[in-house]
Symmetry: C2
Subunit: 112 residues, 2 copies
């Protein structure tokens, strides 16, 4: 488990600092397989592939349970063969360290 995965989300206020591009380029290296995307808002995205729909559902539920525990909720796209997870911080309309923490936790869930 890396340092990010062992961290917990802090409360994200509307004036919380966004992760800078320099910080993001360092943090992204700690979360295998995640990509920075920008659809007007900077986000973290990763696709997880599964050979059974049942496994996709289980993974979706585990990520959703972790999200509820951290009180930080991603977009989870469940479909045949894959689950796509997208993290960002709604309140600051961008990336907070919380998103990298939750991406690392999502990776851990996929490995269990």
């Amino acid at each position: 488990m890396n340092d990010l995965a062992a961290s917990s989300c802090e409360a994200c206020r509307i004036d919380a600092p966004m992760v800078s591009d320099d910080e993001a380029s360092v943090l992204i290296k700690e979360i295998e397989g995640w990509h920075l995307i920008n659809d007007g808002v900077k986000k973290l995205k990763k696709e997880f592939n599964f050979s059974s729909y049942s496994d996709s559902k289980d993974f979706t539920n585990k990520v959703a349970d972790m999200a509820d525990q951290e009180d930080h909720h991603p977009q989870i796209i469940l479909e045949w063969g894959k689950v796509t997870v997208i993290w960002w911080s709604h309140k600051i309309k961008g990336l907070h360290k919380n998103d990298f923490i939750c991406a690392a936790k999502t990776n851990n869930i996929s490995k269990n």
Copy 2:
């Protein structure tokens, strides 16, 4: 329960007939709140709003269970406050009657 919701999906072959635009304009009236979208492939889309994340998760699971039972799998987008469900038939890259049947069943799940 309307006729669509009481139907079951039939096996969708690669040469199965797409629903025509005329048929779609009739069938769409039977599935409250669903919209026809076209992102290169014609699809049915509806957003379901929930006041708790737990309710969103429960709905996601119920729709996924129905999908598995019908062996027809939608895109389900789970996020804070809402679940978006998108039905289309991958094999024919468009809309089959199965999609309208599953949209009607999704409405029934949301009402239970």
